[in-house]
């Protein structure tokens, strides 16, 4: 068979025949999968979270910031806190720390606040620019004094899917300490509304949107996230998405 015919017929076989889906899925699900997923480690090392996300101006802000993700929590714990104007809300910082913390919203707002106008890039491919104000996660962590054994920062969230699985996320200590990683309290000059993660959400502009967990109530310093959820470090990670979401 000459080469052009070979290329054309291979393309035809790969692309057009009826049984291709099964063939393609077998490659994705078989032992080759661990080869495929190995690229994530390489991307994490090469790209990492070292750079500074680009800062935009007021003119770039999308006033109608797109709502995405799981449904706004509707359980009584959350709605009760909301009705009481978040007076009962406490953000817990615990786990492998020397000084566990419990922050009211007022206590968080008393810390130095950072404002950033950055772009939120969804893994699906769309992006929105918003103005965030919040507390640098690094400040909150240093007040809690992580123990040397702590390697990850795990975020527990109020929201859950139809099956009752709660959203969670995790960052390495390095990603958590990035100067633009903030616990956001305001979006576009107003306190976060419930659809955007009120009262506190994570905002990490150097990674894809699913890392920026909404409705956070607990920050736990941990040695590993293997025992949480399905052990992949996050709600979407447990469904096959990369833990390193810088690309």
């Amino acid at each position: 068979m000459n080469r052009r015919l070979f290329v054309a017929s291979s393309l035809g076989a790969l692309g057009l025949s009826g049984c291709t889906s099964r063939f393609k899925d077998s490659l994705t699900q078989g032992p080759f999968r661990s080869v495929l997923t190995s690229a994530e480690k390489l991307n994490g090392v090469v790209i990492g979270t070292r750079g500074m996300a680009r800062l935009y101006t007021d003119a770039d802000i999308d006033r109608n910031f797109r709502v995405n993700g799981l449904d706004t929590p509707s359980d009584t714990t959350y709605t009760g806190l909301q009705k009481d104007d978040w007076r009962g809300y406490r953000l817990v910082v615990d786990g492998l720390v020397d000084h566990p913390q419990r922050y009211s919203l007022a206590a968080l707002r008393a810390l130095p606040l950072q404002t950033q106008i950055t772009r939120h890039d969804c893994v699906e491919g769309w992006s929105v620019i918003g103005k965030w104000r919040g507390v640098r996660l690094a400040d909150v962590l240093s007040l809690a004094a992580p123990k040397p054994s702590a390697r990850y920062v795990v975020f527990s969230c109020f929201d859950q899917d139809q099956q009752g699985t709660h959203y969670y996320e995790s960052l390495s200590l390095g990603e958590a300490a990035h100067p633009q990683t903030v616990l956001a309290l305001d979006l576009n000059d107003a306190p976060l509304d419930p659809r955007h993660g009120a009262p506190v959400r994570l905002r990490i502009p150097t990674q894809l949107g699913y890392k920026s967990a909404k409705w956070v109530y607990r920050i736990e310093l941990a040695k590993s996230f293997a025992a949480i959820g399905n052990g992949n470090g996050g709600y979407w990670e447990d469904q096959g998405y990369e833990w390193f979401a810088g690309i």
Binding site: L36, A39, R54, V123, Q207, I247
Partner: protein
């Protein structure tokens, strides 16, 4: 690869060139198919560095005609002009034998069924295969000195037109040249040093981590070169787009 007169097989290209050639042929195929899978998650391109429906270049979706909502119609919107593409784009093969609202059909994507997470795994792995094979090709070619025969030089430029005229049979003889004629050199040079690097850079430019690392570079890539990743183009967020009083239902991730 024709047999020589002695019957011995003659390889005109080095083993590195032949290996990387097939590797990046495979990588391109996988990258296109997984790229279409990723595109399906938000099937629109905006000529902007964020989602911006006012600058929409391309959108692929389906609409349900008011008179016959049971039979959705596939629509491609190119600069706002609708084209009916039912069966091929917008309303097409779901990768499991049925039809569904979906931008690119299952037979053209990797994986076949709509699966953004796995599509990304393929894409981000074979991005490395493409990158590494181009690096190996160039380095091996430079070491073996094959590369210098491929690169277009200023002295080749005046020979481009005569070579083309020869191909058009408007000239009897090709202009004098080495192993490769000037048009072949031009093609190699543009693909090796312009197209493939752009394919890699424009892809990286869409990554928030790379954007943070190299904002000025990716910014230029966004704005100036937009070729394979759709006009430096960011996708957008609306679920609905009015087309002739019908509803365009964009494809959503499952």
């Amino acid at each position: 690869m024709e047999p020589s007169l002695t019957g011995k097989r003659v390889y005109r290209h080095s083993i590195a060139a032949r290996l990387t050639h097939w590797l990046w042929a495979l990588a391109m195929l996988v990258l296109v198919m997984s790229g279409l899978q990723i595109f399906n998650a938000a099937p629109y391109l905006d000529a902007s560095d964020k989602s911006n429906p006012a600058k929409r270049v391309l959108a692929i979706g389906a609409r349900e005609p008011a008179a016959d909502p049971q039979h959705p119609v596939g629509i491609v919107l190119l600069f706002g002009h609708p084209f009916t593409t039912t069966g091929l784009l917008g309303y097409t093969d779901d990768g499991a034998g049925a039809k569904t609202e979906r931008a690119f059909p299952g037979w053209a994507t990797l994986p076949g069924e709509q699966d953004l997470a796995d599509g990304r795994r393929w894409h981000l792995f074979f991005g490395w295969i493409l990158t590494l094979s181009i690096v190996v090709y160039i380095v091996a070619g430079a070491i073996r000195k094959d590369l210098r025969e491929l690169i277009l030089r200023p002295s080749d430029v005046p020979k481009l037109l005569p070579m083309q005229l020869y191909y058009f049979r408007l000239r009897k003889e090709p202009p004098p040249h080495g192993t490769y004629n000037p048009l072949q050199k031009a093609a190699y040079t543009v693909v090796l040093f312009v197209f493939i690097p752009l394919i890699i850079l424009t892809g990286l430019a869409l990554s928030p981590g790379v954007d943070a690392l190299a904002g000025p570079i990716t910014d230029a890539a966004h704005r100036v070169f937009s070729y394979p990743h759709g006009a430096g183009v960011r996708n957008r967020g609306l679920e609905q787009h009015p087309v002739n009083d019908h509803r365009l239902v964009c494809v959503r991730r499952t």
